[in-house]
Symmetry: C4
Amino acid sequence: MVPSRGSERIEAFSDGVFAIAITLLVLEIRVPETEAGGRLLDVLPQIVPSVIAYATSFIVIGAFWTNHHETFRYIERSDTTFLALNVLYLMCIAFIPFSAALLARYLGRPGDDTVAMVAYTTVLILCSITFNGLWWYASAHERLTDASVSREAIKRHTRWVRAGLLLSIPAIVLAFVSVPLVIALYATVFLVYFLPRVGQLKAKPHQGERRAGRS
Amino acid sequence: MVPSRGSERIEAFSDGVFAIAITLLVLEIRVPETEAGGRLLDVLPQIVPSVIAYATSFIVIGAFWTNHHETFRYIERSDTTFLALNVLYLMCIAFIPFSAALLARYLGRPGDDTVAMVAYTTVLILCSITFNGLWWYASAHERLTDASVSREAIKRHTRWVRAGLLLSIPAIVLAFVSVPLVIALYATVFLVYFLPRVGQLKAKPHQGERRAGRS
Amino acid sequence: MVPSRGSERIEAFSDGVFAIAITLLVLEIRVPETEAGGRLLDVLPQIVPSVIAYATSFIVIGAFWTNHHETFRYIERSDTTFLALNVLYLMCIAFIPFSAALLARYLGRPGDDTVAMVAYTTVLILCSITFNGLWWYASAHERLTDASVSREAIKRHTRWVRAGLLLSIPAIVLAFVSVPLVIALYATVFLVYFLPRVGQLKAKPHQGERRAGRS
Amino acid sequence: MVPSRGSERIEAFSDGVFAIAITLLVLEIRVPETEAGGRLLDVLPQIVPSVIAYATSFIVIGAFWTNHHETFRYIERSDTTFLALNVLYLMCIAFIPFSAALLARYLGRPGDDTVAMVAYTTVLILCSITFNGLWWYASAHERLTDASVSREAIKRHTRWVRAGLLLSIPAIVLAFVSVPLVIALYATVFLVYFLPRVGQLKAKPHQGERRAGRS
C-alpha cells in the first residue's frame, strides 16, 4: 500500500515524551522563600523532600526509558493498535511528574506520606501494566518483532518485562510500612537493574547466537 | 538549487511539538492542599476532573499525532507553504493544553462546563480544519505525495482525514446536551479509530497493491 | 582525527529548542477565574490579549524555525564556534516565551503596551542579529557550506537572511505609533514570507541549476 | 543476540533533555507587575537578575551539550551501565533550571547570593563529576569507543573532559569572594572554551591522522 516506516518515528515521539517528563520533574522543586530578615541558608533544607522525589523519579523514568529502548531493539514493525497501546503507556509515564510533586509535597507528614506513596506506586504499576500489554501485543505470534531475533531471546525479554511488573507489588505493600523503605527499594532496584545486564551486554553482539537463532 | 531534504525535519519538529504538548498536559493537574488538620485522602478526589481532562486530551493529541504520522507516510517532499500550513496546524495542537486546563477547571459546574466543553471542541475542530488544509495542499495534483502510492490509496486517506473533521461536529452539538457524553464520545472514537485499522495494517505492506498502484 | 558528523545533531538540538519554545507559549495563557456567582462566559474574553500574543509568537517562532531549516540545507559541516553561535541564537529564540508573556500582560494598557512591544521587538531583532552572525560565519569563504551549492544561491540566501533583519527595524519604530499595527505587520510578513517562495520551491529541485552551480 | 543500535537513541534522548532543560530556563523569568498607577518601564529593570541567571545558565548548559556532543563522536557502542551513568549525568543537568531560579531569586542580596552561587556551582560540579564518570567508563580499555580513533586523540579528550572539572573548583571558591566575579568567570570560560578549538576543528577531519591512528 504505502511505504511502511518501521518504528523509528514512534521511538522518536516516545523519546520526546520521556525526555520532557523527566525534565519537567525539576519544576516541582520550588525556590524557598525567606521570611522577613531570614536567611536563605536556614530555609534551603526545605527542598530536601522535593530533591528526594526528583532523584527517585528521575531514576524511575530513566529506567522505564531504558526498558523501552531495549524493547524496541526487538521490534521491527508497527501498526495502529501498537501506536494506541504506546500512547496509553506514555499517558502513564507522563503522569509521573504529578505523582512526584504529590510525593514531594507530603513526604514527612505521617499518614499523608503513605497515601502519597501509594498513589505514586500505583502510577508506576500502571506504567508496568501498560508496558507489559505493549510488549505482549508486539511479541505474541511474533507479530511485530524482528524475525532475526531468536525465540529464546524473546522469551528471555518477556520474563524481564514481567519481572519489572512483579517488583512493583512489594513496593505498594511496603508503602504502608515505611515510606523511606520504598525509596530505598527503588534505589536498590536501580543498582540491581543495571548490574546484571552489564555482563550480558558489554560484549559486542554475538553473531553466532543470532545466526543460530531461528534454526 | 540546494539539496532538498524531503519531510524528515518537519516530522521531527512536529513530533517535538506533539510530544511537548501532550506532556505539558500534566502541569494542569495541581497538587491538592489540605486545610489545617485535614488529611490528603480527603482532598485527593479533587483531582478527578483534572485527571479526566488529562486522559481525554492525551488520547486526543495521541490520535492527532497518529494521524499526522500516518499522513506523512504518503508525503515525499515539502515546500515553504506546506511548512507554513504545518505551523498553523501545530498552533492549534499546542493550544490543547490550555483548553484542557479550562475544561478541568470548570468540569462539574453546570453551565460553565458547557462553555468550557464548547471551547475545547472548537479547538479540536480548528485542529481538524487545519489538518485537512495541510493534506489537501499536499495531495492536490499529487503536489507533495509519494509517486509510488496509488491514487486509490490517496483517495482513501482523503476520506479518512475528512471523516475526522466530520466527527467533531456532533461533539460540539452534544456539548450543549451533556458534557460527560462528549467525553464518552471521545473515548469511543479512540477505540473505534484504532480497531478498524488493525485489519488494514497488521499485515505487512502489500507489495502487490503498491506495484500495481499507478498502472 | 575523529569521525565528523556534519550538522545533524545541531539541527536535532535546535529543533528541540524551537519545538519547546513554541509549545511553552501556551503556558502564558491563564485559565480565567470567575468571581463569586459569575459565569465563565463573562470572563472568557479576558484571554484575548494572551491569544493574540500566542498566535503572533507562534507564527514568529515558526518563521524563524523555517529560516533555520532552510539555512541548514546549505550547511554541510560544523565546528565549535558554529555551535557557540548557534547557542547564542537559540538563547534569543528561547527568550520569546517571556517577551510574549510580557506583551500579553500589558496589551491594551496605553503606554505600557508600547514598552512591552518595544521589548518584544528588541528580542526579535536580537534573534535576527545572531542568526545573521551564524550564517555569516558559516558562509564566509564557504567555510561550512555545501560545496555543491552554487555561489549565486549562497548570495541569494545571504540577501534573504539580511532582509529578515532589515524588516525588524520598521517594527520597532511602528511600536511607538500603534501596537496593533505591529501585530498586523507580523501577520503580513508571515503571508508575504510564505508566498514568494512557493514559486521558487514547489517544483522539484532543478538538477540543471545545481550541476551548473560551481562552473 | 539482538541487533545493537549503537548510541543514536541515547544521543536523541540526551539532546531532548538538554533542549528542554535549556528552554525551561525562561520560565524562571517572571513578568513584573506594576503597583496601582505604576508604569511598566519602572518595574521592567526587576528582571535583570533573572536575565543574568538565564544567560549564564543557557551558556553553561550549551557548553555541557557541546561537550556531550563532542564526546559522542568518540563513542561507538553503548551498554546498560553506560545508559545508567548517562541518566545520572542528565539528572544533574536537568537540575540546573532550579539552581538558576534560586540564583535569580537571591542575586543582589548580600550573604544569600553567596549561598545561592555555591549551590549553583555545586550542581555544575556534580554535572562535571558524572560526566567524567561517563567518559571514564566509556574510554577505559576502549570499552565503548570507536576503534578507528587513535589512542592519542582519546587521551587528549580525557584531558579536556578533566579540565572542565578542574575549572569548576575555582568557581566555588570565588563564590565566597564575589558573586559577579563568578559570573564573569563563566562568561570568560565560554569564550576561552570556544576559541582554542576553532583551529583544531575548522579544517576538515585529517584523514591522515585518522588512518595512522592505531598503527
